[in-house]
């Protein structure tokens, strides 16, 4: 018998759980140069099934970390949704089609489906290139938070003590490890050990909607098999989510009693198998047929729970994210997206505190500024998500309206909901409420931008070399705020003088542009021909790749109309503050540059 070994270590951030939320967090922190470790109880990443839908907004987030290319290459794209309802002749018929994504500013106007393991691999490879590996199989066995107020308020202290147990001790040479962490992120799933250890309750209900999920390569005459489909039949509802390669996922509505153990009220997977699920589906799809597949890649059955954790963090030191703090129906493809965007929101704030760019209060949940922090922004979103999910699930699980059942859900009602919720389900419409981080005081100066929503992309052209560039690509998730100076009509003397005055203020010693926390991007109105890079104030052109003009490219294939799209005056311009997570923090006219300075000083130490 080997002698049990214990080691004791320090770390800035310990992430527990290497699913989508944990990996987004680990990758973002590694990219920010944060001292981070990530542990997981599974010996390997998931191989098949699980969550698989990536929203348009999440694709933008991947792109902001330089990871979208592979996602786009490997994933399936859903461009079209189709709706089926009971046919007067029996069975179902198509009652309509629509774009899958209803968000006009989406840079990627489609959803991607790709199995969770492939998505995790994108993060794992990215982290590996930065020498961060997931340590596994490891489980935490205790978590203690210091009760010393001074320690909790010292950003350099390590007030969280976590004991880790190595499940594969021989290989690791250690059986347990005591980790002292500045911060801990619990991204350990719906049955979160971190959440339970912290005694955080889940609020909300279990529904009685039960669904089966089946991943397989179908042989069928169903014409929309490669589109997202909502099937309302008199024999239950189904949903199709086409996947990478030839795989398709079916969501199949089940009647309560089939899959539930009456004694416990819990799902009993042994009561149903994939054959039975397919049999149920076939009834909904009549008159279309499905051959019995040779192989089922993955399947499961679940009871929809719609619950949110009562809080997302304790003492600004331990956070929960992802399924650990919200569970809901998977059918609108929200789950994994919500999870990854939780930690996308959290990671830059942790980085700022660890670098001394911000007070611990940026993470605060207890102060009067509750509403500007991680918990506020993401818990509000999670509640919106549950509310959406309740409406959508009810519509989806409800009986269709037919001549006999006038109380049922009509096609019009459903498609109306599909469109209404489009901005939400795409992730594009996610909105963080007014706070010190989202200040809408001067919103009129960029009337088409929504403060607290993500900055939409647009193609501008570089005057230096006429290259068209997506604006989002110069707003990467590199932990810095971006000051996007829409400099207006810089070729006109009066505006040139205003721009120079603004440059003097921002570029002064101690001014915003002298601080690491801010990066600058300049966008002029006018044409490539008229805007001369060298005539701009030096602080507005730190490099030729940072200056743009709202013009078309040399072949007039892209670009132009950006000021109009954002609702900014082409003459006078505006200042736009984009947060490190890509959200619009505030906008201001040049004259109110003082308010922009106040925005930054409010949360900076």
């Amino acid at each position: 018998m080997p002698v049990p070994l214990t080691k004791e270590t320090d770390v800035d951030v310990l992430i527990i759980g290497a699913g989508p939320a944990g990996l987004m967090c680990g990758n973002a922190l590694a990219k920010a140069g944060v001292n981070v470790r990530i542990v997981d109880q599974r010996p390997k990443r998931v191989a098949a099934g699980q969550a698989d839908g990536i929203q348009p907004r999440t694709i933008e987030v991947f792109q902001s970390y330089g990871l979208a290319e592979r996602l786009l290459r490997e994933g399936n794209q859903m461009h079209m949704a189709a709706f089926y309802n009971p046919s007067p002749n029996g069975g179902i018929e198509r009652t309509g089609r629509a774009p899958d994504v209803n968000a006009s500013t989406a840079r990627y106007p489609f959803e991607i489906t790709l199995h969770q393991g492939a998505i995790e691999a994108i993060f794992l490879d990215s982290m590996r290139s930065m020498d961060v590996e997931v340590e596994r199989p490891i489980v935490p066995t205790s978590l203690e938070l210091s009760q010393d107020e001074a320690e909790l308020k010292d950003p350099n202290a390590h007030p969280v003590k976590v004991v880790l147990k190595y499940l594969d001790p021989i290989e690791a040479g250690t059986e347990t490890e005591i980790v002292h962490a500045k911060f801990v992120v619990g991204a350990d799933g719906a049955h979160s050990w971190v959440r339970k250890t912290l005694g955080i309750a889940m609020e909300g209900e279990q529904t009685d909607f039960i669904w089966g999920v089946l991943d397989f390569v179908p042989e069928t005459d169903f014409p929309d098999i490669r589109n997202r489909c909502a099937i309302h039949s008199n024999n239950g509802s189904c949903m199709i989510i086409p996947r990478e390669g030839d795989t398709v996922r079916l969501y199949i509505q089940l009647t309560g009693t089939d899959a539930v153990d009456a004694a416990t009220g819990r799902i009993d997977k042994s009561r149903l198998g994939p054959e039975k699920l397919l049999e149920v589906a076939r009834k909904s799809f009549h008159p279309y047929t499905f051959a019995t597949p040779k192989e089922v890649e993955w399947w499961t059955i679940y009871l929809i729970g719609q619950r949110v954790a009562s809080k997302f963090s304790v003492s600004n030191r331990v956070f929960i994210a992802g399924d650990a703090c919200h569970t809901h129906s998977p059918k609108a493809g929200q789950g994994m997206n919500a999870s990854m965007n939780d930690t996308h929101n959290l990671a830059w704030k942790l980085s700022h505190v660890l670098r001394g760019w911000a007070d611990l209060s940026l993470l605060d949940t207890a102060s009067g500024f509750l509403y500007c922090r991680y918990e506020f922004e993401r818990r509000k979103y999670a509640q919106d998500l549950i509310n959406f999910d309740k409406k959508f699930s009810a519509l989806f699980s409800g009986k269709p309206r037919t001549e006999e059942n006038q109380e049922g859900v009509s096609h019009e009602e459903f498609i109306q909901a599909f469109r209404t919720f489009g901005m939400f389900t795409s992730g594009i419409g996610v909105h963080y409420g007014p706070s010190m981080l989202t200040n809408a005081t001067h919103k009129k100066v960029a009337s088409n931008l929504n403060i607290g929503q993500r900055m939409p992309s647009h193609i501008f052209v570089r005057p230096a070399d006429a290259r068209p560039i997506e604006l989002q690509d110069v707003l990467p998730a590199d932990t810095r705020f971006k000051l996007v100076v829409f400099a207006g009509a810089v070729t006109e003397p009066a505006q040139k003088a205003r721009v120079e005055a603004l440059a003097d203020t921002l570029g002064a010693k101690g001014g915003l542009l002298s601080k690491d926390v801010v990066d600058i991007v300049t966008v002029c109105s006018g044409t490539v021909e008229s805007v001369v890079l060298g005539s701009l104030p030096a602080v507005f052109r730190p490099h030729f790749t940072k200056v743009f003009v709202d013009d078309m490219d040399m072949h007039r294939r892209s670009g132009g109309g950006g000021y109009a799209a954002y609702g900014i005056d082409t003459q006078a311009g505006a200042i736009v503050v984009v947060r490190p997570d890509g959200f619009v923090g505030m906008v201001a006219p040049f004259e109110h540059v003082g308010d922009v300075e106040s925005y930054f000083s409010a949360f900076r130490s």
Copy 2:
């Protein structure tokens, strides 16, 4: 002293030289599953400098091998060209700007610049993923071709004997190796050992234009430093080629006597250094200034030679490609492109012969069908290239027209030439003459397609899932011919009947679609809404990813108008044969499908 070791091996194709021509060849053959080896005398790939310009057509070729993504990510893009001429006030002034690329059908309407080592790395990594590595440092010391006619005509024989010498024998464990090859490709540069060993002469002249090249990060007030520039000054000509990162390449015209050793007539690099080159450039750029750079990344001096090898192959068994068979001025960025496209043209033909899909005569240079083969297509191109180069170099090296010098080259003359040659310099206009591989008999049926030019891309939409796709992406360089069936108005009964008749012919036992050499892509006119995948004949829809409709995507951002762009009737359709290298081989109306069958039978064994 180790005992000299010799081994003896067989290989299907031996490539000598791992520059751009050799690597394109090696990668293409590896991808085709051919038994290939590639050797090079250099111990490592080049680190800096050398050739660096990638034309729009070459980007398309990279994309056809799945390699464009990295090229686009790592390279600089040239979108704009600027022209400078003597100013009446002394010095130079800008006289115009234009798109860098003048080829309206270019899928990538710009050129990429990236140093040769980075381009080579793209191939090396791709080949490594297929377990093919460049073996180096190795030089060939003898090459013998069998004189036995029967052996030369047997595609399975190994009639070429090459002795290789390992320059690093201790590591390799071998000093020499005798390789018996079915085919040898000499891609060993301007001083090609293979060419000299075969006794092939270079035809053409050395010019007396001498140019210097300087790669460095400039500090300058010159406003077009990130654009391709042609500078005609009274103090000589210069050209700017912006490169990746902040690097810029200057081409600097030198007066003959500065750099030439009078005794030998050869360039003597010791007579000039980078400081001297910059000094010459500064005179041309006046009144703009260049600070002395801290570091020069790479520099050279060359005398322009404009020569073509008298033949490109011997006995269909040994080929030369790239700089080994054509040398010319580098200023129009043609060299590396010409080299890579030589072997892009050759590789699929070698694969076809080795698979038994074609007779050795596909490679023939001696038969009456000379004009359809590798040498014909690429030697004709090389001659066109030299003719272009002569005109362009003369214009470029000539004195500018001024009040005093009315004989000089005017701005209008130069820019006219720049535009005229645009299709050529972009690579888009490269045209292979009429032959069995490029049959223009029925060209009217696709009146905007040029038989013998590359198939232009266009965005079509898949009826199965409404995903927009670039047509070129379903015409990959996978060694198969593509039969693109423009099926026309398939929803109309008369056309449906024609399509079904065509399917019967093509899909019949022994018909074209039963052969491995042909892959099929179907493009219908009409809309995503109206075209039902399942109503097409089965042979025209082998997979949902192979069928398209000429419609816009769900958000009306792309697609539509493809039939019109190609000049194909939306009612009646047409058959388009695309060669494995992406060139249009022939077009035909449905009624002349027999001619399409003849096209294939002509070169097939």
